[in-house]
């Protein structure tokens, strides 16, 4: 990972890192990438990726309406709210 890639990933991850944090992450990422090279020595030709370790399909419940968490309970954790909605900064001028 080079510095430009890190800046790109930082934007994707919605983070704003300090220069010290960037240096620390670049150092660790370098070590991690070196360790990942072991994987290329393992033959995975014709192996299907393992998506779930459960040996069953998801057990879905009946589609029945049930009492759930109220709007008030959900909004009570919001940093800012207005008229029964989450409040966010303007995205359009």
């Amino acid at each position: 990972m080079d510095k430009q890639s890190l800046v790109d990933y930082e934007a994707m991850a919605k983070l704003c890192l300090t220069e010290n944090e960037r240096a620390w992450i670049l150092e660790k990422a370098h070590l991690l990438e070196q360790s990942f090279s072991t994987l290329s020595t393992i033959d995975t030709k014709d192996v299907e990726p393992l998506v779930t370790i459960l040996d069953m399909y998801g057990s879905l419940r009946e589609d029945m309406a049930e009492k759930s968490i109220s709007r008030e309970e959900i909004l009570s954790n919001a940093p800012e709210r207005c008229d029964g909605f989450f409040q966010a900064p303007k995205t359009l001028e």
Binding site: M1, S5, L6, Y9, E10, M12, A13, K14, L15, C16, L17, E21, W24, I25, K28, A29, L32, S35, F36, T38, L39, S40, I42, T44, V47, E48, P49, L50, V51, T52, I53, L54, D55, M56, G58, S59, L60, R61, I69, E73, I74, S76, N77, A78, P79, E80, F86, Q87, A88, P89, K90, T91
Partner: protein
């Protein structure tokens, strides 16, 4: 029995910070199934313990890790069992180091409803306990299907009893060569009382990489929800939506979560998806296939709880096998003077030797730890091995 919870396991109305500033003001809107079941069974709730951020042990911290609160809480007698989520093996290593057990149940047998997610395909509520009886008693209460968690098996409840018959234990040669002396001696003495056989654990050198790659990808996705708008911490000064997101998350997450998020973006990027993420998922299948094959011949695999001269990241390979394959495991402490693995019969006050180790804080009596892994939903084999060996 008295129980504690890592505060990644929600109790309605209480702050469930999951060890993170980003959730430092988050009040749980409902209780986790595991908590409700223990309360309904009449167990006394001691309180919360603080986990590492999102239960993800720091693998790249320059300072030695502190003892987990869940471990301290049981070791000093404040509670009998402590529930936590142990993906990278911190609790599985620290519990035996402090004279305690850790039970890591089969993935899909204990509901994750109300557990704040970190690495969903590997998150599993497990138990730090002073005795296996306490631990399995609590596990039998919390295990079972939960309609609120579609990844729980349909079986309504589980009772854990030793598996009858002769037990066959597999000991991986290639891992034993890396184990520290105490663990190696403990395993050899412990497995000596069983029919045991050596084998080579394939892919061992890739386990921690596979776990980290898949873990970062899932952390990256699971932590996207923390945006400073719907719940949790919000930065105090920002200009516009993007700055709100990035400053909130930068101030809210610790260094290991930031590293995991960045690495998650990397392994999921177009450039690295096939060579890292997809490759890791394929190796995960190979690991599971090897485990299935091994458990057609053996009842349990014995692994050390630490490797000599390896950092935390590399040590996590020891715990990745059970986590990646969704298998149950028990980490057990071993004492010095035992003829089998160091466990003596009878400690102070007539308590068992394992309780003795815990009461003494593990000082001067411990002789390494052993991790036993069994086939999916076969915790009974682990109990049998522990009963036979202890």
């Amino acid at each position: 029995m008295k129980f504690a919870l890592d505060n990644s396991i929600m109790v309605k109305g209480k702050i469930a910070a999951s060890g993170s500033r980003i959730l430092s003001n988050f009040h749980a809107p409902f209780s986790a199934t595991a908590y409700s079941k223990l309360k309904n069974a009449g167990m006394e709730y001691y309180g919360y313990t603080r986990p590492d951020e999102f239960g993800v042990a720091p693998l790249f911290c320059d300072k030695p890790g502190e003892i987990a609160e869940a471990v301290r809480c049981v070791a000093d007698g404040r509670c009998d069992v402590a529930l936590g989520n142990d993906v990278f093996g911190k609790l599985r290593r620290q519990a035996p180091e402090n004279g305690l057990f850790y039970i890591h149940p089969t993935y899909g047998t204990v509901s994750r409803f109300g557990l704040i997610p970190a690495i969903s395909s590997m998150d599993q509520i497990g138990l730090v306990c002073r005795s296996l009886d306490d631990g399995f008693a609590a596990l039998s209460i919390i295990a079972g299907h939960d309609k609120n968690d579609a990844t729980t098996y349909p079986q309504a409840d589980y009772s854990y009893s030793p598996q009858p018959g002769n037990l066959r234990i597999a000991v991986p040669d290639n891992v034993m060569q890396l184990a520290d002396e105490k663990s190696r001696q403990a395993i050899l003495a412990f497995t000596g009382v069983f029919e045991s056989e050596s084998f080579e654990l394939k892919y061992f050198n890739a386990l921690h990489q596979v776990q980290y790659i898949l873990g970062c990808a899932e952390i990256c996705n699971n932590t996207n929800r923390y945006d400073g708008i719907k719940f949790g911490y919000r930065t105090s000064e920002f200009s516009g939506l993007n700055e709100l997101y990035s400053k909130t998350r930068a101030e809210g997450f610790g260094p290991d979560m930031k590293l995991a998020s960045i690495m998650g973006c990397m392994v999921l990027s177009r450039e690295h998806y096939d060579s890292l993420y997809l490759k890791a998922m394929k190796i995960r299948r190979l690991v599971k296939q090897q485990c299935d094959e091994l458990f057609s011949r053996y009842d349990a695999i014995a692994l050390p709880t630490s490797i000599e001269d390896r950092d935390e990241y590399e040590q996590s390979a020891l715990y990745a096998l059970a986590t990646l394959a969704g298998l149950p495991s028990v980490s057990i402490p071993c004492m010095k003077d035992d003829t089998r693995c160091g466990v003596q019969d009878g400690g102070p006050g007539g308590r068992s030797s394992i309780q003795y180790g815990a009461q003494d804080g593990g000082r001067n009596v411990l002789n390494g730890g052993i991790q036993l892994i069994a086939q999916s939903k076969n915790e009974g084999a682990l109990l049998s091995v522990c009963r036979g060996g202890l």
